[in-house]
Amino acid sequence: MNLLDIRNLSIELHSSHNSILAVDRVSLSMKEGEVRGLVGESGSGKSLLAQAIIGVLDDRWHVHADRFHWRGRDLLRLTPEERKVVISQDVAMIFQEPMACLDPTASIGEQLEEAVNSEQLSGYFWQKSQQRKIAATKLLHKVGIKNHELCIRSYPHQLTEALCQRVMIAMALAKKPLLLIADEPTAAMENSNQGQIFRLLASLNQLKNMSILLISHDLENVTHWTDTITVMYSGQFVEAGTTKQIFTKPYHPYTRALLDSSPKANIELPAKSRLMTLPGSIPILQHLPIGCRLGPRCPRAQQECVQAPKVKNFHGHQVSCHFSLRDNY
């Protein structure tokens, strides 16, 4: 059974004059134990989508979907309170810039104890504070922090960024989530630290069968860690498939361009040669092109592209393009 099943989710921003379709009919499904990468450049609506799943968007944003199921339950029919209960039980999220997300005025220990679920504690009330401490220590051990005494006593600014991100992951693990949404967990981090965080997430996925939705703006950074990838551009669904499919045979011109433009993926490319790029820049939300939003930048665009293409499915490799590159392979 699918853990998360979203069909044609749209997120609209209503303002006084007009409404802006920030996310336009995006589908996403997650199986248990799957690591899915959600890739898109800035303004592609990937963070909005994550916030819509968690349900933390404020009233200005309107979410519609044909289907929005969490383990078979329709989330759109629940009241916000019921929904909060369901989501907070099973879904956790970690953010980029962990140092900014932790409370600078409280020590790590206090913040971790706050996150510990009191229903997991057994015993009389005088035993609970001790149990909370032990639970917090265990959480730190789970994310690979061995020197827990020092860590619990310190404040966020005293720890390195990678350690802070580990603490964030520990807090997310406190409720034993089924799905962890990692919104650019390694942005602005050193390479060696990036590897540490990704390895930790991979091991949690392996050991606890936790599904991970890994959001990133850079395709080349996530390919090693994901089973499946969904690509978005400017609020529209572009392509989804297994990592291998996306990486070796991308069907969409945008994915192709992303791969061609990455000097890391093209190791055979002679040094200092020109890289393949898409012309122009990412459209801003106020001036979105009609139809396929890649249209003005796309090398294969034709007249039909003013109409938004339907999603086509080729053996689980979904692509949303009138002129996909499928026949080229």
């Binding site: 050193e190 390479n191 060696s192 990455s262 890391k264 020109r274 820049s281």
Partner: protein, 260 residues
């Protein structure tokens, strides 16, 4: 051929304030030497605190070196003489959004270095600003815009315009490509390579993306704790890293290189 930029035994150490007798010094950068030719790129990689930003600051003149000297075309650059230095060595920063003055239009932003460093009259300055904007792929109309009206990629182009407007010989890119989206980043790389060919620029690229370093640079230097651990041709170092630190750095990114 004589080197364009020669760095000889450059080092930086800071004195920590302390008692007279137990004054401590922290060495940010041990003495290092290198040289760059025109049309070439030197990449500097290393972790945080390895001294790569200190090196950039020393080259551009924002910090005064403890020892050593910088020679441009065989001429020693004086540490206090900014006027001489800023015409030849320019820098682009990581976050272009915060390095552009939000209260000035692009024209005023680009006019400032010209007013301070050249004797051009107003018409010539305007002409030069227009030419430079076109060179970096922007429109002449953009002159009257304010920085907030541009996207991240365009802001980075404005920073580049500000760097090349004085026709420098060396440009230092301090993580200038890190914060850009992939499709804009490759546009920027293409633009930089074109400008290098046109103007004979030498680049000093500070980066931690080895893919870009491999593609973009001719030589590379690996720094760790303020010391040079490896220095040589990029292709040689990436294919056969000798030092343990370099190997570790490549290993942490290598899986991505091998994936395809």
């Amino acid at each position: 051929m004589a080197a364009l930029l020669q760095v000889i035994e450059l080092s930086k150490s800071y004195k920590l304030s302390g008692h007279w007798f137990n004054q401590k010094t922290v060495t940010a950068l041990d003495p290092l030497s290198f040289e760059i030719q025109a049309y070439k790129t030197l990449a500097i990689i290393g972790e945080t605190g390895s001294g790569k930003s200190t090196l950039a600051k020393l080259l551009v003149g924002a910090e005064i070196p403890s020892t050593g000297k910088v020679r441009l075309n065989g001429q020693t650059l004086n540490a206090e003489n900014f006027k001489q230095r800023c015409q030849h060595i320019r820098m682009i920063f990581q976050d272009s959004g915060t390095t552009l003055n939000p209260s000035l239009t692009i024209r005023q932003l680009l006019d400032e270095p010209l007013k301070l460093n050249t004797t051009l009259n107003e018409a010539q300055r305007t002409q030069l600003i227009q030419d430079t904007l076109q060179k970096v792929g922007l429109l002449v109309d953009h002159m009257n815009f304010y920085p907030h009206m541009f996207s991240g990629g365009q802001k980075q182009r404005i920073s580049l315009a500000r760097a090349i407007i004085l026709k420098p010989q060396v440009i230092i890119l301090d993580e200038a490509l890190a914060s850009l989206d992939p499709s804009l980043r490759s546009q920027m790389i293409n633009l930089l390579l074109d400008l290098q060919q046109q103007m004979g620029l030498a680049f000093i690229l500070i980066s931690h993306n080895l893919g870009i370093v491999r593609h973009f640079s001719d030589d590379m230097m690996v720094l760790a704790d303020g010391k040079v651990v490896e220095y040589g041709k990029t292709a040689d170092i990436l294919n056969q890293p000798k030092h343990k630190f370099t190997q570790k750095l490549i290993m942490s990114q290598h899986f991505q290189l091998l994936h395809k």
